[in-house]
């Protein structure tokens, strides 16, 4: 179990705090708005009402002892920068901050955020990739240039064994799982002999370029 401070309980911070808690982590949830803190109270280790832009408040709450802090202060770009700066000075090792645009993200990194997230952009990219091709049902970009796509098989692929599909295996593309519809179940790490049905959904992973080439082809 690790200790976290989640600062700002809006549409990002709140689900994050609750999910961490659900995963068994010790979460201190902090917001200047008493109503939001109250909403979180029953589901986290501790919920506090405080202005986190004040360094003394952060220290009083014992924030320097957490393993990671997450800062998401909605539209308050400057407040987020201040809080990240305080956390950096307090010696918090892992600081995740939500940014409002690319420049804000760069500032946050410069004052010590170890990871910057930009949910609106990340989600837009994911939706765009999926809309790009009808056969792509979902798309996820992973660490280190890899991506995972959920694909409906093309008519040419139906009835073939996985080993016969030219997906770019030599570039490291592979079928991670097949979602079967009837009966509804997931076959993970399917064997090369698996025969593709028209109701199947393939979950395929590989280097970004190879996956893109496969979608275009």
């Amino acid at each position: 179990m690790r200790r976290y401070a989640v600062i700002g309980l809006g549409s990002f911070g709140m689900p994050l705090a609750l999910e961490l808690s659900r995963l068994g982590q010790r979460v201190t949830a902090i917001d200047a708005n008493p109503e939001r803190a109250r909403d979180a109270q029953a589901q986290v280790h501790q919920a506090l009402v405080a202005d986190a832009t004040d360094r003394d408040n952060l220290r009083a709450m014992g924030v320097e002892q957490v393993d990671a802090a997450v800062v998401s202060l909605g539209g308050h770009a400057e407040a987020a920068v201040r809080v990240v700066l305080h956390l950096t000075r307090l010696g918090v090792r892992e600081i995740v901050a939500k940014c409002l645009d690319e420049e804000h993200g760069e500032i946050l990194s410069r004052v010590g955020a170890t990871r910057v997230v930009f949910p609106e952009r990340d989600m837009a990219t994911r939706v765009a990739r999926r809309l790009h091709s009808r056969s792509v049902l979902d798309y996820l970009s992973l660490a280190s240039g890899f991506s995972v796509v959920e694909l409906a098989p093309t008519t040419k692929q139906i009835g073939k064994r996985l080993a016969e599909l030219s997906l770019g295996q030599e570039q490291g593309v592979q079928v991670l799982a097949v979602k079967e519809l009837v009966p509804e179940r997931v076959v993970s790490a399917p064997a090369a002999e698996f025969v593709v049905k028209d109701s199947d959904i393939l979950v395929v992973m590989g280097p970004e370029d190879a996956v893109r080439a496969m979608q275009e082809g």
Partner: protein, 225 residues
């Protein structure tokens, strides 16, 4: 590639990135916003940018939205506007309408009035991040493959020298190796997971697995990783 027609209503962070990305991918994008400043940000980066109120059906029609294959509604903080826009787009006969929800209740309302898909960008990204933070080995959990996560494992000693095919991770442990991270001449390199690739001491494997399969793997390989 099939060129598709998209209408993107609302050019906040989400709508703007979506419109630009679809345009870069070669699709025909009609972008709509009530603010001139927002439209300037997509100028030259989409097929057409139109000043219009998305909550006004006549303005939507006049903008030519009805010819879109897919419409995406991302109207920022106004629940009424995005709800009305979703309704009008369906009435105009657009088959696929994807709407960004402001909260769970808004999402339910959107479902009711015919949005074909409701998305919650902040919530989804927040939940992914929670999983990564809670287990530092987890790189990502896959939202469309529930119960699975992508994680990093140190190659257990008894696999050193074996090839990926010989290790039978797929057949025995239901684990798929995505890639191998390896230090070569003081640089970290990513090696594709080809069946003929041999594990070396110090290798870190990026694998997709279910929690229970992972536990079995760790037990079988002497609690390594």
């Amino acid at each position: 590639m099939e060129r598709r027609r998209f209408a993107v209503l609302g050019l906040g962070s989400f709508g703007l990135h979506l419109a630009r990305t679809l345009h870069e991918m070669g699709h025909e994008v009609l972008a709509l916003d009530q603010s001139r400043a927002a439209l300037e940000a997509v100028e030259g980066r989409c097929a057409r940018a139109v000043l219009a109120d998305a909550a006004d059906k006549a303005e939507l029609e006049a903008a030519g939205v009805a010819s879109a294959d897919v419409a995406v509604v991302a109207l920022g903080p106004r629940i009424d506007a995005s709800t009305l826009a979703t309704l009008f787009l369906r009435e105009l006969g657009i088959r696929e309408v994807i709407t960004k929800a402001l909260g769970l209740d808004h999402g339910r309302l959107l479902d009711r009035i015919g949005a074909t898909e409701v998305i919650y960008p902040e919530r989804e990204v927040a939940r992914q991040l929670a999983h990564r933070l809670a287990d530092p080995e987890v790189l990502d959990d896959l939202p469309f493959l529930e119960g699975y996560s992508l994680l990093e494992l140190r190659a257990p000693e008894d696999l050193w020298g074996k090839t990926l095919a010989e290790a039978h991770l797929r057949r025995v442990h239901k684990m798929a190796v995505a890639l191998i991270k390896r230090r070569e001449r003081d640089r970290e390199v990513s090696v594709p997971a080809r069946p003929t690739e041999r594990f070396r001491p110090g290798d870190v494997l990026v694998v997709l697995a279910r929690d229970e399969d992972l536990a079995a793997f760790r037990q079988a390989h002497g609690g390594a990783a």
